[in-house]
Amino acid sequence: MLELVAMAEEDGWAFVRTGEELVVVQPPYQAWSRTKATASQLEQAICRHGFKQAGEPFPDWGQLIQHLKQRQVAAWQERGGTGLTEREMEEMVQELSSDRLAEFLDHVETELLPRQQWAAAEKLLRVLLGVRTVLDSDFLRHRTLSLWDRCQEKRKSVMNVSAGEVAWRFPHTPRSYQELGNARAQAGSPFC
């Protein structure tokens, strides 16, 4: 059993007692963002840093973290908080360093393409191709374009299943489903 001892709900930070131990948890609520705390730190947090005493039991971490996330979002929305628009996010990307942009390309290459997440890869690459830092750097520009080409090629090679081939492989599949399968495959959806 866990006890939510105190929280700063607007940021989702919380002191939690787990048996004898007191810990502080913060987003993104991974093991590394959970640290041991002392009673005096708890006192500081309440007396000086806006934490509110709670005293709620939770059966497990999953439910406690869900609670923290919900309270955080609710508090944010009460204050009129809204998420960033696409344009605002693209503006943020414009301001990223070359190193960070290179890491985004790493993500496309090592995560999105191998997982065949074509739409996501294309979206990200399209955004990056509009970034001044990318356009001004031969290395970043070539890499982005190269990944774009690879994305298109891989998408075509995996998804380029002709109706004839479906008929050969799956002779008992009605023709309409053969063509449906090809259309779905072209759209990047699983054939099912």
Partner: protein, 278 residues
């Protein structure tokens, strides 16, 4: 009968001679030369910093003001219809008596603001790690009235006040420094460790484990901010959220975190304040 309140800043000033004497003793030891350099470093680089959660930082930058617990209780009372004291008691809960006791011991105690002596880095990380928080560093000439700031060797609430709110003035007094003597108090505090800490570790030495508390009266305003620091990993992780935000979308709490970060970025830019990842 109302007890006589202590003037914290006057008491700090009165302690200057005592600090000079202790500092002189420290200088006669093996680490004397290093301590002299350390004191000079603190005098040169020392600033007051305030560690904030993201929403508090955004509020500070938006409103231009950083409120203490009493001011926040006043604002809450205006909306709730309760008294300010009721709001404060609800907020402080089990710690109400202790905190009130401390506030009432000192003249203008309810107006005190708290920060840490900072010479670089993320300042006093009060709980958890530095991840997720912001360190607001005030300018070197803050506060304008040097006679209304005192530095305490250790956190005041944690070390010099009991649960009933009684302040151990006898123990607190010798550990108070006026602004003019903060660097010497810092040297006295770290005499035992200074030999094992190279110069580039001095900023973290001042804030690792314990920190030197700054207590001051002047309300910090946005124009008094020198720079804002955030943990470099937190900055990187937040920027990386853009990948997910642009493709599959973020969950509500993640969207909030990214939005708050962006707001802080823009507010800092608007007011020509540097954001450093450290």
């Amino acid at each position: 009968m109302m007890r006589q309140q202590i003037n914290l800043f006057a008491r700090a000033n009165q302690n200057s001679g005592h600090i000079e004497a202790r500092y002189a003793v420290c200088l006669t030891g093996e680490v004397g030369p290093v301590l002299t350099e350390f004191a000079a470093f603190v005098r040169q680089e020392g600033r007051i910093s305030i560690n904030c959660k993201p929403t508090d930082c955004e509020q500070f930058l938006t409103t231009g003001q950083y409120w203490n617990a009493h001011e926040l209780a006043e604002v809450a009372a205006q909306h709730s219809g309760r008294t300010k004291e009721e709001e404060l008691e609800e907020h402080l809960a089990d710690y109400y008596i202790k905190r009130r006791g401390f506030d009432e011991t000192f003249a203008n105690g309810e107006c005190f603001r708290y920060g840490a002596l900072n010479t670089g880095g993320m300042g006093a990380v009060y709980y958890g790690g530095s991840y997720g928080g912001y360190c607001v560093v005030l300018q070197g000439d803050f506060p304008e009235t040097r006679g209304e700031v005192a530095y305490v060797k250790y956190d005041s609430l944690d070390n010099y006040v009991d649960a009933a709110g009684r302040v151990d003035v006898a123990r607190l007094g010798p550990n108070l420094a006026a602004d003019s003597h903060k660097c010497r108090l810092a040297a006295i505090k770290h005499e035992a460790e200074i030999a094992t800490h190279p110069r580039d570790a001095w900023p973290s030495l001042l804030c690792a484990g314990t920190y030197m508390e700054a207590v001051f009266l002047q309300p910090p305003v946005r124009t008094a901010i020198d720079r804002v620091r955030m943990d470099a990993h937190y900055m990187a992780d937040t920027e990386h959220m853009l990948k997910t935000a642009l493709t599959t979308g973020l969950a509500g709490d993640e969207a909030k975190r990214l939005s708050t970060y962006r707001k802080i970025q823009l507010l800092l830019r608007e007011h020509h304040i540097v954001l450093e990842g450290v």
